[in-house]
């Protein structure tokens, strides 16, 4: 790609990325160039230097500047329609709370429905449960097939769900439409679906476009939804975290409120969102700086989008060719991400397998890529059950994808299957207890025995065949047996076991 930034400049802008990692997961947490980070740090320092002055004299105008930049970016008709929030998760909480009150105030009836994709983001499903279902509403899921071959499959599935939502005299109060689904990742024909919702009299149309800005074209007026939210720290080079909530008809929703209530309550959602108590707002102030960065590239944001899409589809095609698998969607339904089928012999049989495989790729191959498990339909022969969601952003190189290619090939050729995970005792990574022990190889299974149960902290390093060094350490309690694995069949280094006392 031609950009005015030399490859060296580009490298320095992302030199804080761990250079040993093939980082092909921009979709999850995004990325931020050094020049934007520095701009953010300057704002942070200004606040720390004289917070009162910053609060009274600089914060509001700076937020307004960011809002104006966003308005132009997404072709909103007025800056009043733009509120800046932490992330899409916050945006949906705002809208769902508003709908919750309509149940409380008897404007909605118990049993009224909401329609959302089966593949909607986990947090969104929980949010709908927490506010809409709890207040008396009922959720209809759009059952979308995957893999997909065309938009028609999506449109057809959505139509079915809307009809179901309206059956038995119910009203569809809410439609949550992804612009780009998260897992599996697919570009959804939002414009068509929004029109369908309007025709069917849906009260409130909310587009979850967390991934959209910076990876596909966004024109909120053309899309025509009531609410549209996108993160700017995923694909638009802003630091964590910042998103916007666009409200099409701001005068018609005076009762839209941020759940965190400050003295700005009642001054409109944009004002309320701009002050929710003392915190670091610096990520919200660097949108102009991010746009400046983007304009150093030939073609600006458009050029970057096209480049990312072109590269990710090239890489996706390369991978399916080498692995003998298939893509999850046609190329024109991919954004800057693509779903690439994984070899069936890897034996991914569950969401848990998918997560563990992802961990394995991170720990043993230093490849960062999320894995999706898809349940096969009845009658499928040798189905592809696992897909890697590869991302491409301007810092990626072909090597990143060759490393993924080789890692998977390595696993396949060494006969690895996810079945090995079920031989592991459940290791729960989310607790703080690390356990270390002295171990011995017992024919593929490795047990660590902590020899001194009276000391609070017990240490030792275990060595196993195949160059695997497994460490476990006990804190706050004795551990009698920690069973960990040696990983049969392939090289792995420095795997840390983290878990509960067993």
């Amino acid at each position: 790609m031609n950009h005015k930034l030399s490859p060296m400049d580009l490298g320095s802008e992302f030199s804080h990325h761990d250079p040993t990692v093939a980082r092909i997961n921009n979709g999850s947490f995004g990325s931020c160039p050094s020049s934007v980070i520095q701009a953010q740090q300057r704002y942070q320092l200004r606040f720390l230097g004289q917070p009162d002055d910053f609060y009274f004299n600089h914060l509001k105008p700076s937020i307004l500047q960011s809002r104006q930049a966003i308005k132009t970016l997404i072709n909103a008709s007025h800056v009043d329609e733009i509120s800046i929030v932490d992330n899409a998760t916050t945006a949906i909480a705002i809208v769902l709370q508003h709908l919750m009150w309509r149940f409380f105030e008897s404007k909605f009836n118990p049993g009224d429905t909401a329609v959302m994709f089966q593949y909607a983001y986990g947090a969104f499903k929980k949010s709908v449960e927490a506010y809409f279902t709890r207040a008396g509403g009922h959720v209809i899921e759009v059952k979308m097939p995957f893999p997909l071959t065309s938009n028609d499959e999506i449109i057809g599935a959505f139509k079915k769900a809307l009809e179901l939502g309206k059956s038995d005299n119910r009203k569809v109060r809410l439609a949550v439409i992804d612009h780009i689904t998260s897992m599996p990742s697919v570009v959804i024909p939002v414009k068509e679906l929004v029109k369908m919702c309007r025709d069917e009299g849906v009260d409130c149309i909310f587009v979850d476009a967390a991934h959209a800005v910076g990876s596909i074209e966004v024109d909120v007026q053309e899309i025509g939804a009531d609410f549209y939210t996108s993160n700017l720290n995923k694909w638009l080079f802003c630091p964590p975290s910042i998103a916007f909530l666009h409200c099409r008809n701001i005068p018609q929703v005076p009762n839209l409120h941020h759940p965190m209530v400050s003295h700005e309550y009642g001054n409109g959602i944009a004002m309320e969102s701009s002050w929710i108590g003392t915190r670091d707002y610096s990520a919200q102030l660097v949108v102009p700086k991010a746009l400046e960065f983007i304009n150093r590239f030939e073609g600006g944001l458009d050029g970057i989008r096209k480049w990312n899409h072109q590269r990710v589809t090239e890489m996706a095609e390369m991978l399916v060719r080498v692995w003998g698998t298939n893509l999850g969607t046609p190329l024109d339904m991919c954004s800057s991400m693509a779903m690439v089928g994984l070899p069936a012999c890897l034996g991914i049989m569950s969401d848990s397998d998918a997560l563990k495989l992802r961990t394995r790729l991170r720990d043993c191959f230093k490849v960062e890529v999320p894995i999706y498990y898809r349940q096969p339909n009845d009658g499928e022969v040798d189905p592809v059950r696992g897909y890697a969601r590869i991302s491409h952003h301007i810092y990626n190189t072909v090597d990143d994808y060759y490393r993924l290619r080789d890692a998977i090939c390595n696993l396949v050729s060494s006969g690895f299957t996810c079945e090995v995970f079920s031989r592991l005792k459940e290791v729960n990574r989310s607790t703080v207890n690390k356990f270390r022990g002295v171990g011995e190889d017992r024919g593929g299974r490795w047990a660590a025995e902590i020899r001194d149960p009276h000391r609070k902290k017990l240490r030792g390093v275990g060595k196993v065949k195949n160059g695997v060094r497994v460490q476990s350490e006990v804190k706050n309690g004795a551990l009698n047996n920690a069973a960990l694995t040696s990983f049969d069949g392939f090289e792995c280094v420095d795997v840390d076991g983290v878990g509960d006392a067993l």
């Binding site: 980082r23 009162d52 932490d86 009150w101 400050s262 009642g266 670091d280 703080v432 690390k434």
Partner: protein, 460 residues
């Protein structure tokens, strides 16, 4: 509460353990010198008499540096940070906080952004209770007249809107003793219950914001229990790092304190303590993630992608405060002594008063302003504050205290009524010059015959 120990601080752990990262412990065995303290706060704007630590807090350079290290870890490899480091580090912070406030169990401690968020959590819970019929329309929530504006608005947003009623209790100011507060609260609460309303929740400040006074919360919580109030929420935004906190002793159901005000954390981080009881399991963070239903502490630990670094610094802050003689207790005593000394100096110079006796002041004090300055409205107070910032580089919030009675009230040495108070703060970076600068600014204003009326007319 003795000296705070850092759990898990064993140097030998640091070898190849890249999942728990403790910064190297300082090798210094002596305490921080004045010069070192000055360096720690060298990023504070030069030339400003910064006597308002109470509003936005402050953060030393070594903590900022530690924060940057965490931020970098996320930027380097965010997935690894999210899966392998973040939950453990948040749990570490929560565990240290539990000891700090003498809670029974770490499950009672959640970390949130600030007291404003905590209010939303507790009040949303009340809102649901009204909506789901557990509370009846008209059931009441009690608040203090001087409650923080965000709390008042939260009550409007979640309680009033859901059909609840509000009992407002006025506390006296200026105030002379705890007894005055206790008896006013008793009266106010009883009056509010007169028509037989059930009181579901009382929200009580531990240290009021404006005007700032330490409230005898333990006694007020007891009164609430005696009067049949279901639950008590203590808004202690200012307390951690300025007064000792023992949540078991205080006995409230919910207790929130910011850690970026007086506990040297960067903006922003607060603790929300929820006493273990069947009711507290129904609390939810308003921003719902996949952790919904796993308990408030776990919900609060992940509310979508954002920068959680300010929540991970409690261990480093504990190291920092232990570089002061007496640790956090030493800091609290020194701040308190210094702010009282400065308050008395100012009051003497201006011929005014303190708004409360020293024992009711934390690291802040309310100092009466000369009556001729003419602070006669909230607008006057804000205008005067801006004027002091712009013309004198003095940062101090001003409070307007209307007279209870037209002919009764504190008077200054010229016999005018005192209606304006400055809330001066003292934190480790302050020096006497800051307060002398303020003293001289006011003297100049008096010399020039200044009155807030002049600022108001300028606005028009």
């Amino acid at each position: 509460m003795g000296e705070i120990r850092n759990h898990g601080d064993h140097p030998e752990e640091e070898e190849d353990d890249h999942h728990i990262n403790l910064p190297k412990k300082p090798k210094l065995s002596s305490f921080l010198t004045q010069s070192q303290i000055h360096h720690e706060f060298a990023h504070h704007q030069l030339g400003v008499a910064r006597i308002n630590n109470g509003s936005f807090g402050s953060c030393p350079a070594s903590i900022i540096a530690a924060q940057k290290r965490w931020q970098l870890k996320f930027l380097q490899q965010p997935d690894d940070f999210f899966f392998n480091q973040l939950p453990a580090q948040i749990l570490r912070s929560r565990t240290l906080i539990k000891d700090l406030i003498n809670a029974d169990d770490v499950s009672e401690v959640s970390i949130v952004d600030n007291a404003t968020t905590a209010a939303a959590i507790v009040l949303q819970h009340v809102g649901w209770a009204f909506a789901e019929g557990r509370f009846n329309k008209g059931d009441a929530v009690v608040m203090l007249h001087c409650a923080f504006q965000a709390v008042k608005k939260s009550i409007e947003a979640y309680v009033t809107r859901a059909g609840g009623s509000v009992i407002v209790v006025h506390l006296p100011f200026p105030v002379n003793s705890n007894e005055e507060i206790i008896s006013e609260f008793k009266l106010g609460l009883a009056k509010g219950k007169l028509n037989g309303r059930k009181v579901r929740l009382a929200i009580i400040d531990h240290i009021t914001s404006m005007p700032s006074v330490i409230i005898p919360v333990r006694e007020l919580v007891q009164i609430c229990r005696e009067e049949g109030v279901n639950q008590v929420f203590v808004d202690a935004a200012h307390s951690v790092g300025s007064i000792p906190v023992d949540v078991k002793n205080i006995g409230a159901d919910f207790y929130v304190s910011n850690l970026h005000k007086w506990f040297f954390c960067p903006p922003s981080v607060a603790l929300l303590y929820c006493r273990k009881s069947s009711l507290s399991s129904d609390l939810h963070h308003p921003v719902v993630s996949h952790e919904y239903g796993n308990g408030l502490a776990i919900e609060s630990a992940w509310i979508g992608t954002r920068d959680y670094s300010s929540q991970l610094l409690v261990p480093e802050v504990i190291d920092f405060v232990n570089r002061f003689e007496g640790g956090i207790h030493g800091i609290m005593s020194k701040n308190h002594e210094a702010v009282i000394e400065m308050a008395k100096m100012l009051a003497k110079s201006w011929g005014t008063n303190l708004g409360s006796p020293p024992e009711m002041c934390p690291s802040m004090a309310m100092v009466g302003l000369p009556s001729s300055l003419g602070v006669l409205s909230d607008n006057d107070a804000l205008n005067l504050r801006n004027h002091l910032r712009e013309k004198f580089s003095v940062e101090v919030p001003i409070h307007y205290q209307p007279l209870k009675d037209a002919e009764v009230g504190p008077r200054d040495e010229r016999c005018g009524f005192i209606t304006g108070y400055a809330r001066i703060s003292h934190q480790v970076y302050n020096t006497i010059d800051d307060y002398l600068k303020f003293r001289d600014a006011v003297s100049k204003l008096l010399q020039d015959g200044f009155s807030c009326r002049m600022l108001a007319s300028r606005e028009q």
